[in-house]
Symmetry: C2
Subunit: 335 residues, 2 copies
Amino acid sequence: MHKPTIQDVARRAGVGVGTVSRVLNNHSAVRASTREVVLSAISDLKYTPNPHARRIAGGKSYTISVLLPVVTTEFYLRLLDGLEHAFQEARYDVAIFPLLDRSRLERYLGSHTLAYQADGLVMVTYNLTQIFQQNYGGAWPHNVPSVLVDAHAEGVDCAYMDNVLGGRLAGDYAAKLGGTLYAIWVETELDLLFTTRVFSDRRSGFLEAVGRAGRQVAGEYISSFDSLAARSVASQLLDEAVLPATVFASADLLAGALLDEAQARGLVIGRDVRVIGFDDQPWSKGRGLTTLHQPVEAMGYDAAQLLLERLTGQERPAVSHRFEPRLIVRSSTEG
Amino acid sequence: MHKPTIQDVARRAGVGVGTVSRVLNNHSAVRASTREVVLSAISDLKYTPNPHARRIAGGKSYTISVLLPVVTTEFYLRLLDGLEHAFQEARYDVAIFPLLDRSRLERYLGSHTLAYQADGLVMVTYNLTQIFQQNYGGAWPHNVPSVLVDAHAEGVDCAYMDNVLGGRLAGDYAAKLGGTLYAIWVETELDLLFTTRVFSDRRSGFLEAVGRAGRQVAGEYISSFDSLAARSVASQLLDEAVLPATVFASADLLAGALLDEAQARGLVIGRDVRVIGFDDQPWSKGRGLTTLHQPVEAMGYDAAQLLLERLTGQERPAVSHRFEPRLIVRSSTEG
DNA sequence: TTGTAGGCGTTATCAA
DNA sequence: TTGATAACGCCTACAA
């Protein structure tokens, strides 16, 4: 009644344990017919390999630690999907470390078990490489293969969303639409460590495109990433705006609040107020919000592949993969 | 230059590996002096045991899986602190599984690695025991020791906050304060699976206490757990309220929004409007919010102990440990 | 109270 | 292309 082991599989398939291990790990040197036999033995026995034994024998943890700010937004969920998908294919486990504040980060880094638990590191949004070099150069094993997602750094593999391009796409389109131009940006964190360029990038792209089109932005607003704050900023904007207005709200959360406020004021979306969001949230389609869609899962999947390449010992210069948002036009900009 | 092993420690301490293992696991049969020698050898070598080897040798995973709804609220962070503290003492690792929707839960349960990764299960807020009995009775090993936190169920160890009492304390106090009585409740999820009784408990306690005092609630409001919604409900309440009003806002998030709205209207907190919150958020003290403080860390620590008892094979009927919120009076109710 | 040796379930190496 | 067999690092009898 014990869980079947690789031995049981080998016996049942009439082969050696080495062979079973080979098919498990996709080693090429296995005849197709034997592979079949082994595979069916595995499914007969409902065998699943014991990851702990694997780790100790292989001398690796077969685990990737993912450090990310929060996990409750659409963006991070989709990213996790992409990451987990890729790592599962490669038989790696994923350990999630939600980073909410500095103290929590330090506790994770200090915990001795973490060092064992990760062959590689995925750092999302925040570039923590400095931390490792500075405070934890000792505690953390040197040169843990790492990949940055949604962030940049020299000498490290990165996969990032081109937010400048996203802003530019919004800017090009907004300039064409006509109407007074406005923008709402997300207030970024103050902590030096927990910092992200996402929104400043969107801004620079947008301003560049608008300027290139010979237009100018009549007003810029800043809101924290919170629906209440967003609503009140939306209200302020509509108080001050010259209609018809075209507004680039640099996150769908902000855009949604603006739609709400505009509707509450009886304005016609797409005519009096045109709104461009950013994120393509699940609800964005239903509300007809023109917005920028980001290939987030693909970015996660790709980041995982970059890390897996490193893990197989590939030496190569650090690369940086760029992903492009694309504009999705809906009714919020088409009266 | 390799990581020191138990062998290295034994050699350095001039003892056998068995002895080292014994001090590592707090086995009593070790002379105090030898224990000292071993301990110093450990620290000299900066030895940390390899958890994977331990897992395979012991036939256990020494890992606890914690399934919780989200990790970005104060409540869950504090709970995690309590849990992790207790499990670390017992040399267990904690794997966090943020549950955001049903599909994610199913993926976790379906993943074979989870079965290996957990000697025990902590289920927070949501009672998922039914799931295991129904759909996953096969996939999931039967009788995984489990503990429910912040939730009830028959036949399972539980540690829960007495929200009825919390509501009652708020009700008793509110009744004494005078003023027209109002309450704001949090809208609970509709999904049958992801359901929690937290807020309905607070409500029944509150209503009971108020009724017992011969008072009655002039109005009840419902808000989703979102600052914007909370603000708008607060506004509606203040539009309709007969002042002076005493409001029980069943979460500090709601209470905060009410304070904001009241101040925006120039009302005097503690005189025109008295507010009782629930949670004792970090900011609650600074804003002088009277609220209910919950011993969340203690609850987490205790839940962990319950689970650890089960893991050592203790047979005993399921117990249910109750934790009591306590009222903290601040200026929001004292004009 | 302590040391020795066998076993846990893999992967990796080396012949065959 | 395969099958033995030696690690991997720890825990746990069993003996001393």
